[in-house]
């Protein structure tokens, strides 16, 4: 049975990006790093079978002894196999990832609840998967295969989505919970994605969503920025695009605070994948996150004293006024 308390608790971290590697490692070792960067997340697809300059640079990261945790983009746990009941996977990627995960002694690995590969073709985007029982079965088979192969726990990440593809058979929260149960895995909760989906689909308030989830499965959190407004080449528009290329909005910090007031997590990651600012700006965001953690811890403690020991899903309406949209 999945138990997040058995996993390490590395704390606050940052995504390792090549352009910022030297600065990040320098900051990690500096006295200014007061628990702001305690681990780094790597996208395994960018670090498999390395050579030349990239291998040399990665060696400096390994030499720094900072904890590395992998977060995939192409494991494609939402890909349906041609023959039902079989896992769908890319053997080359699986072997290469296994080698990397062993090299970095990964405590867990994760990827998005989406489809990035159809058959053997990679689509280079996190395409949505329908919220149906069949998808729950497909994803669970794939996740079980991955966990058995890698011999470390797997976390599914709630993605941002711009389509439900077909009429959903269940809500997003029910969909996630069903997979957590059936695959017996953990959850990487992206609080920005909660905000993006809540806004674009106007389907729930972020707090309602949090309260429907199995929060005892949340091992890791992603927090990132988004872009207001996006229009496709055909003119279809959405209110918010999940970019990881902007500063974190106040609304997203609020969701993080609401989450952490309800449960503890093992790791929190600031995700920044494009439009990179100077590292000091990211450090400022990490400081804000640290303050949010401190406030939430105090809230959780108060709540515990006032209402006794509460399970992750127990709530009191007076304490949990939703943030809404």
């Amino acid at each position: 049975m999945f138990d997040k308390d058995k996993l390490i608790k590395p704390g606050l971290g940052l995504g390792l990006r090549r352009g910022l590697t030297d600065e990040t490692l320098e900051f990690y070792k500096s006295p200014d790093n007061t628990g702001l960067i305690e681990w780094l997340e790597i996208v395994p697809e960018n670090y498999i079978k390395l050579g030349g300059v990239k291998a040399k640079k990665f060696q400096t990261v390994l030499d720094s002894k900072i904890k590395l945790i992998p977060h995939g983009v192409n494991l494609s746990i939402g890909t349906a196999p041609e023959k039902p009941g079989q896992p769908s996977y890319d053997p080359y990627l699986i072997d290469a990832c296994k080698e990397l995960f062993q090299e970095i002694d990964a405590p867990w690995f994760s990827d998005h609840l989406s489809c990035t590969r159809v058959g053997d073709i990679y689509l280079q985007n996190l395409l949505p998967i329908p919220f149906t029982q069949e998808t729950v079965n497909v994803v669970s088979d794939n996740v079980k295969f991955l966990q058995d192969t890698m011999q470390i726990p797997f976390l599914i990440e709630n993605p941002s989505f711009y389509s439900t593809i077909i009429e959903p058979e269940m809500t997003e929260a029910q969909f996630i919970n069903s997979i957590l149960e059936q695959a017996d895995c953990g959850l990487l909760l992206d609080v920005n994605n909660i905000y993006v989906n809540a806004t674009n689909h106007n389907c729930y308030s972020p707090v309602e969503f949090l309260e429907q989830l199995k929060l005892d499965r949340v091992v890791q959190v992603h927090i990132a920025g988004h872009l207001q407004g996006y229009r496709s080449h055909t003119g279809h528009s959405i209110e918010i695009l999940d970019t990881h290329g902007q500063a974190i909005s106040q609304e997203v910090y609020t969701i993080l605070e609401e989450l952490l007031a309800r449960t503890t997590v093992n790791a929190i990651l600031l995700e920044r994948d494009s439009n990179f600012p100077a590292l000091r700006e990211l450090v400022e965001e990490l400081k804000t996150i640290k303050n949010v953690i401190a406030r939430s811890n105090a809230t959780r403690q108060t709540r515990k004293e006032k209402y006794g020991t509460l399970s992750d899903t127990t709530r009191n309406p007076q304490v949990y006024a939703g943030t809404g949209n």
């Binding site: 697809e45 960018n46 498999i48 079978k49 390395l50 050579g51 030349g52 300059v53 990239k54 291998a55 040399k56 192409n74 890909t79 349906a80 196999p81 041609e82 039902p84 890319d90 080359y92 990627l93 489809c115 590969r117 159809v118 058959g119 053997d120 073709i121 990679y122 689509l123 280079q124 985007n125 395409l127 998967i129 329908p130 149906t132 069949e134 998808t135 497909v138 711009y162 389509s163 593809i165 077909i166 996006y230 496709s232 080449h233 055909t234 279809h236 959405i238």
Partner: protein
């Protein structure tokens, strides 16, 4: 409808093909256009980074070519950069060449730029002979080394660069990663030096290669020349210890 069939239709949608409205309703197709736009946008950025010289020439028709590339050359690799591997194949298609009327050497230029990236990123491998392990030999119809230099330094107008053909002139290039500096290097091979490089790659020693070459063409063995060649190849880190 089974998830497998739905994803086959999504794949078609991401390759600009007509999809079955029974499987993907019109609303879904509209929503998927967001993903298609995002894919094209990131593909365009990736390709501009990998093919800067091709981009310089193809800029006016770049967006159209990206759509064609996305639709025709799907990637079978989880490694993002590999998505760009087949650009030279698109540019070699006669219909594409005719439509966009770019210079005759462009497909080979794309292969040249791609090979540079491949060599730079190639996984570290253990050398099994004295030849530097990460290398590729490419045969071109056009003088690519000269063309690349021209494109990097030319003060000709961009319109002229974008439309000027170059005369054919066969060239064999040896691309390799200098494992000391980890930088890419390349040089043009003469048929004789190609013979030498291939022989070293097959595990033969330079002296042995030279003797067999001399015997084959009834020439006198020139030990001094061998020593010089050995020094040159070692200095360029092509011949390794």
């Amino acid at each position: 409808m089974a998830l497998y069939q739905i994803q086959q239709e999504i794949l078609k949608s991401m390759q600009g093909q007509e999809t079955d409205p029974q499987t993907l309703p019109a609303k879904t197709q509209e929503e998927l256009s967001i993903y298609y736009s995002l894919v094209l946008s990131s593909l365009s950025s990736l390709m501009q980074n990998i093919y800067p010289l091709c981009y310089k020439i193809l800029e006016p028709s770049w967006n159209e070519l990206m759509i064609q590339y996305q639709n025709k050359y799907p990637s079978k690799s989880a490694v993002y950069n590999k998505l760009a591997a087949d650009f030279h194949k698109l540019l070699a298609e006669p219909a594409v060449q005719e439509k966009y009327n770019y210079p005759n050497y462009l497909s080979e230029l794309a292969l040249y730029e791609w090979t540079e990236l491949e060599i730079y990123n190639a996984p570290n491998i253990q050398a099994t002979t004295k030849l530097t392990p990460v290398h590729q030999v490419l045969q071109f119809t056009y003088p690519l080394t000269t063309i690349v230099q021209y494109l990097k330094t030319s003060e000709d107008s961009i319109e002229e660069i974008q439309t000027t053909d170059i005369e054919e002139e066969a060239q064999i290039s040896f691309f390799y990663r200098d494992e000391t500096s980890l930088k890419n290097r390349s040089f043009v091979l003469t048929p004789a030096s190609l013979f030498v490089v291939r022989a070293i790659g097959s595990g033969k020693g330079l002296e042995e290669i030279h003797k067999s070459f001399c015997e084959q063409f009834n020439l006198q063995v020139d030990i001094e020349a061998i020593n010089q060649l050995q020094k040159d190849l070692q200095a360029a880190n092509i011949l390794i210890d």
